[in-house]
């Protein structure tokens, strides 16, 4: 493969090992993740001059966590697009580094919804009365699981997608999770077990939903000059795309996601096509989230996602598109209800050849991480980063 130029490299990646953090604060989870990723890169807190996080740390923007870590920064970015914020943070870090605004960018995530007893998918999220959409959605039971379920129902109506096809997404994730000793759910499940699990929001069953876990993660993105001085493999960021999709003033179309706009931007920038991708981390808040992204990324035509994911096609070693080889959010980890961070981390593991041997994709030199954050049927963000092993 011809080596493409990267403006920045992911040199550090760390997934916090906890899944239940009753004994830790949110700030601690950020800090432990930050230290882990910096140690992985061979750097320290004093090397960091750019910082990126979402709104998962209480307080104004990043003030609290930056002061807690005692960082001295030249650049700061607290863009929040829900669970896919971390793809966008990597993309924005690359832009900031290319523009000379920083040279060592730290991205952190931390949270403890499980310890705090959150009902992430089935209870209303916190809101502010001044959100213009709130009066027109709050009274009607606008919860996350219901939002994704309406997309699944429409997909079934338009394209003939079945619950069994959706179940294959979970089945594939569980095949990978059995090899991950830290995965919350390590048991391999069958299509029958998924479709026979209790309905949460029709047509989505309990096993169509991701786990709720505490924890976090962090990434270190550096300039090419610094990257070349470090001992870790060079994971270049060669394509980035981001988009947001809402209700279009009432012209609602639930058959596609923001990834339909984000993906072509990322592939165009990278100069590669979906056929070139050897491994894909695909945000899996629900099984339908994966299926719609696979279509919108261009791995198959719109409407054929159900057929594409069926029969183990996402299972590493046998399927055409190995995905979420850590077990993903469906089985392994979905820290603080934000699966974007762990998606990038597993893509980095694959490109470094450091995934579990049972799920490592041979010769994995080109991967992507795709994420959807927010509420799929209401307002959501989508972001894709394409990553290449370059050393």
């Amino acid at each position: 493969m011809t080596e493409r130029k990267s403006r920045a490299y992911i040199m550090g990646a760390y997934e916090h090992p906890t899944r239940l953090a009753t004994d830790k604060t949110i700030a601690q989870l950020h800090a432990e993740s930050a230290l882990g990723a910096l140690a992985d890169a061979g750097l320290g807190l004093n090397d960091v001059d750019g910082f990126f996080c979402g709104n998962d740390m209480p307080g104004i923007g990043a003030f609290a966590i930056v002061d807690y870590l005692n960082l001295r920064l030249r650049h700061i970015d607290t863009t929040d697009t829900g669970g896919c914020s971390y793809m966008i943070h990597v993309a924005h870090a690359v832009e900031a580094i290319a523009a000379g605004k920083c040279s060592v960018a730290l991205v952190t995530l931390g949270g403890r919804p499980r310890a705090e007893g959150a009902s992430t998918g089935t209870a209303p999220r916190p809101y502010h009365h001044a959100q213009p959409d709130i009066p027109f959605e709050l009274p009607f039971g606008n919860v996350i699981a219901g939002s994704y379920a309406m997309c699944a129902r429409r997909h079934m109506h338009e394209f003939g997608t079945t619950s069994e096809q959706l179940a294959w997404v979970k089945v594939a994730a569980s095949h990978h999770a059995q090899h991950n000793p830290r995965a919350l759910l390590r048991e391999v499940v069958t299509v029958e077990e998924v479709v026979n699990s209790p309905l949460v929001a029709d047509p989505l069953h309990r096993l169509d939903c991701c786990v709720i876990t505490d924890g976090g993660g962090a990434l270190v993105v550096t300039s090419p000059e610094i990257a070349r001085q470090l001992a870790r493999p060079l994971v270049g960021v060669i394509g980035m795309g981001e988009a947001m999709k809402g209700q279009d003033g009432g012209h609602v179309d639930l058959t596609y996601s923001a990834i339909a706009a984000a993906a072509p931007r990322a592939f165009s920038e990278a100069g590669v096509t979906p056929d070139d991708i050897k491994y894909a981390s695909i945000y899996d808040s629900f099984t339908i989230t994966v299926l719609m992204q696979i279509e919108d990324l261009g791995f198959c035509p719109k409407g054929q996602g159900g057929r594409f994911v069926a029969d183990g096609n996402l299972i590493s070693g046998s399927g055409r598109l190995p995905f979420n080889t850590d077990g993903g959010g469906l089985c392994n980890n979905h820290p603080n209800n934000r699966g974007g961070m762990t998606k990038i981390i597993e893509a980095v593991r694959q490109l470094r050849g450091e995934a579990h041997p049972a799920v490592q994709v041979p010769g994995c030199d080109l991967a992507l991480a795709s994420g959807i954050g927010g509420s799929l049927a209401m307002r959501h963000g989508g972001s894709v980063v394409i990553l290449e092993r370059q050393r």
Partner: protein, 132 residues
């Protein structure tokens, strides 16, 4: 109308200067939507400007109250509520609930008409029921 449902907190949400009119009309059993005075298109949810053409002036108009189910779900852990998008005959889709129905027998494309239900705190919200 006026069958009590779940409590809706924070009543100030429903009386703001931009969309308070919608809720005052709903309290009288009227379902109103916004239309742009420049391009003539309807939009949802109601705004003081037009999200389609960017026009700065919109007006309240009576909706026909009819539509079809675009998609729906049944919240098994939310007391069986049926959230749905209903595509109004005016061409815009609104997020709402389907009521007075057997949820198991609903289908996409089914005709529905507006009803008005009262929340515990007195707020009246537009919901939809299958046409008989």
């Amino acid at each position: 109308m006026a069958e009590a449902r779940g409590h809706v907190p924070d009543p100030q949400t429903f009386g703001n200067p931009e969309t308070g009119h919608f809720w005052r009309e709903a309290a009288h059993g009227r379902f109103v939507i916004k239309r742009c005075t420049a391009c003539g298109k309807h939009h949802w949810y109601p705004r003081s400007h037009c999200p389609h053409c960017g026009g700065g002036e919109t007006e309240w108009v009576d909706a026909s109250g009819g539509g079809t189910i675009y998609s729906f779900t049944i919240l098994r852990r939310g007391g069986g509520k049926v959230p749905a998008y209903v595509t109004l005959d005016e061409g815009i889709s609104v997020f709402t609930n389907i009521v007075d129905c057997d949820p198991e027998r609903l289908s996409i494309g089914q005709r529905v008409t507006v009803r008005f239900w009262a929340e515990e705190d007195g707020l009246v919200v537009p919901v939809f029921a299958p046409e008989s």
